[in-house]
Amino acid sequence: MQHYWFGDVDVEGCRIASRNPEDLARRVASLHTDMDSFEPIDWRTAQACGLVGDRGEYLRMLREVCTISARQKIAASYQGKDVELLQMVRMLDELDDVINLLHERAVEWYQVSTPSFSRKYRSLPARKMIGVIRKNSGGGLRRVADEIDRLAGLRSGLMREVSDRADEVLPNCSALIGGLVAARLASRAGGLEALAKMPGSTIQVLGSERALFSHLRSGSPSPKHGIIFQHRRVHNAPKEVRGRVARVLAGKLGIAARIDYYRGAADPEFIAGAQARIDEAGMME
């Protein structure tokens, strides 16, 4: 017997499952064809069954069922808790790039409009520098600086949201490396599910693809860390043990991602054990 989208067919005849496209879409969701005994559909079978009058009608009905089924699958794939988090963290990283570019350009502009200005011997972080520009200039530059300041405010707000959302969606990963970096890892992996299926060694070098492929191709040194370098435990570690910290941390993250994906709740016992193991890796002999 062949199970087709519109019904079951065997030598004795056919049985139409339904004439309602919604019902048929539900039916195809559970169909699984055995390819060894499969025979492709002859649309005339559907005609002989009395489902359709001609090929045009057959295609119309098939297209409707396929479209409904596809829309349901698309909706289901956007249901994951992590889907919006990924968009948020990508927007955040994009905002960072844009703010940096605009800031650099605004400082250049400010320097030509204020010949006596120099940044030497003054520690001026970006946000303060924009404040100086806003205070001392007018016209276009002033308005640009105002906008950059607003963007920076937007960025801080979004960063808090990303961090809070990550604590919720990736509780164990966030406990180990902070919500922001955890969200970036999930974003680079392509989602929490993908991250949960990755080995620790892949997580360790996520985000350093250029160095990794250069290593695989031409034998340059392999990267020790990618995105996880952003966490203080890795970049504050002494150089001699940084690779080891990165490796241990990545291994524990792989487990944390699996707990996040399959269980979805923080596991305090695991987190405490993992923290201790990572701290131990950071100690010099």
Binding site: V28, P40, L59, C66, R71
Partner: protein
């Protein structure tokens, strides 16, 4: 294939992705579509009005829309949700496209929709491209065609593209008759087209 002043075109309603129009025909750009590149640098196979096509890796429906201009029916298989949203919109306006959301490597997930087809066209970014094509051969009519757009970088970035192509061609030659093999540069780098024909005789109609 229809060409106007040596420009490849297809007949149909325009405006799918902002393509240029030429004498009422849609210009089919070899830089945007690997199939158009094949028709530009090689021969490919003539798309005929009676053909039914299984298109694996339909993506946003750009090339699908051109193929649908030429043939009777296109079964368009795509896995990723975002491009699928675009493909559904293309299929809404072209009545001969059947949009199927499924993994091209798992034909058992969409076999229950399938008629036998004259052509299997495959353009998927997966490492096991040849085996995906083989798994879809049950849908092919005797004497039917397979056009495989081999993305050598997806198979293995570390290996020489020439080796990857040779291996794929040999693997396909075990099941099918390889008719044409060509690189698609300068339009698509490290991409090759492999045109195969089913060895069983076509039924006399």
């Amino acid at each position: 294939m229809i060409r106007i002043h040596n420009v490849l075109v297809s007949p149909g309603e325009g405006g799918v992705y902002g393509e240029r129009m030429l004498d009422g025909y849609r210009v089919w750009d070899p830089y945007r579509s690997k199939l158009a590149a094949l028709y530009t640098v090689g021969t490919g196979i003539e798309l005929a009005p009676a053909m039914r096509v299984l298109y694996l890796g339909a993506a946003n429906g750009t090339t699908v829309s051109h193929v649908a201009d030429y043939v009777d029916t296109v079964y368009a298989v795509e896995f990723a949700p975002r491009p699928m949203q675009d493909l559904l919109e293309v299929a809404r306006r072209r009545r001969n496209i059947v949009p199927i959301m499924a993994d091209a490597g798992k034909p058992e997930e969409y076999a229950h929709f399938m008629e036998p087809v004259d052509l299997v066209y495959q353009d998927v970014a997966q490492p096991d491209q040849v085996s995906i094509a083989e798994r879809n051969l049950p849908f092919l009519l005797p004497g039917g065609w397979l056009v495989l757009m081999l993305k050598t970088r997806s198979v293995d970035v570390r290996r020489d593209p020439e080796d990857v192509l040779a291996e794929a061609r040999d693997a396909l030659a075990r099941r099918l008759e390889v008719v044409e093999v060509c690189w698609l540069d300068p339009y698509h780098l490290d991409h090759a087209a492999i045109v195969c024909r089913d060895r069983r005789c076509a039924e006399v109609k």
